[in-house]
């Protein structure tokens, strides 16, 4: 499957390397050069395509192969950038599978009702935090127990 990922931050990079390991043809798109240097989040053995470009720009998307892509994921920190890019991917390029990260749960709902596959981490993460808070006290881990003895 040919996949384009917009945004090479922690999330985009993690997803890119997961998909590439599973054998997909992955192109990661990020506006900043630094996203791809040694300070970036992609593992060194990542062998997919890294491209500097704007995921909301038609020409950049074309260069990234949007015309023949099977899937597009927008995973930057900006909700508006993500939904704009996702809509371009879906409605202009007709990419069959489009998923977008939307931090604001309300916007996520709106764009879901407009036909996008949205993933909103905010509510899910809040629930995880609440769960962790309410869970019974864990057994101290061996390392921290040792540290306590010392």
């Amino acid at each position: 499957m040919k996949v384009i990922i917009m945004g090479c931050g922690r999330r985009g990079a993690q997803l890119a390397s997961m998909l590439q390991r599973e054998g997909h043809d992955v192109t990661v798109l990020d506006c900043s050069e630094e996203a791809f240097d040694t300070e970036g989040y992609l593992p060194e053995d990542f062998s997919g395509t890294k491209m500097i470009g704007n995921g909301m720009d038609l020409d950049d998307l074309r260069r990234a192969g949007a015309e023949h892509a099977d899937a597009f994921i927008s995973a930057t920190r900006g909700d508006n950038r993500n939904v704009m890019a996702a809509q371009i991917a879906k409605h202009i390029f007709g990419i069959p599978r489009v998923v977008t990260l939307v931090h604001d749960p309300i916007r996520a709902e709106i764009y879901h009702s407009l036909g996008l596959r949205t993933v909103s981490p905010t509510r899910a993460v809040a629930e995880l935090l609440k769960e962790a808070l309410e869970a019974p006290e864990e057994e101290p881990l061996p390392s921290s127990a040792e540290a306590a003895e010392g």
Binding site: M56, V83, D104, I110
Partner: protein
Amino acid sequence: MYIIVVGGGKVGYYLAKELVESDHETLIIEGDAGRCAEIADDLGDIVMRGDGCEVSTLERAGAGRADIIMAVTGDDEDNLVVCQVAKHKFNVPRTIARINNPKNEAIFTTLGIDTSVSATGAIMAQIEQELPTHPLIPLLTLKGGGLEIVEIKIPPSAAVVGKRIKEILLPHQSLISLIIDSAGQPRVPSSDTVLHEDDEVVAVTMKESEEALRTALSEPPPEPSL
């Protein structure tokens, strides 16, 4: 009418000022507190601080009863989202987006924004009107001698349409060396070759004769004198 303007930069400010003067109920939504204070000083209590992309902000602004929402920030993605949220969450009847990157115009139309206004596009259209309609394109400057190779498309209105090359008065040291017809077929002309509209003419000329060559090949015939 109740009109919400999202973005209190220069465009938003002057837009709101005009709207207020035309007696429309107007509200500016702007994220920067300092900018909000400046606008309030000038235009009075018509500005609200907040992120116009947030549903809660639009709710506080009374988007549900707005007749028009105009998103005029400097970021196209924000303008798109403001308009889409206004339309789908608050049923605002008319949404207008400012477009900064002219390439986004077609995208906005496809994505259902009622009206988009591209200042860059408008300025470009203006510039294109001001420029000579049938510019001469320099292709290559030959080293030494001040000669260059140029290209020009023969407009339908040109006096030379239908004329043989030997009938055309070309400036000094100018030579038509290649003609590409409107079907894309190139040919080396003879003195009997007839020029047609939309022919692309490649010519060798002196740098200082450029303008005279352009005139000779593109100007309409002179008005008959009475």
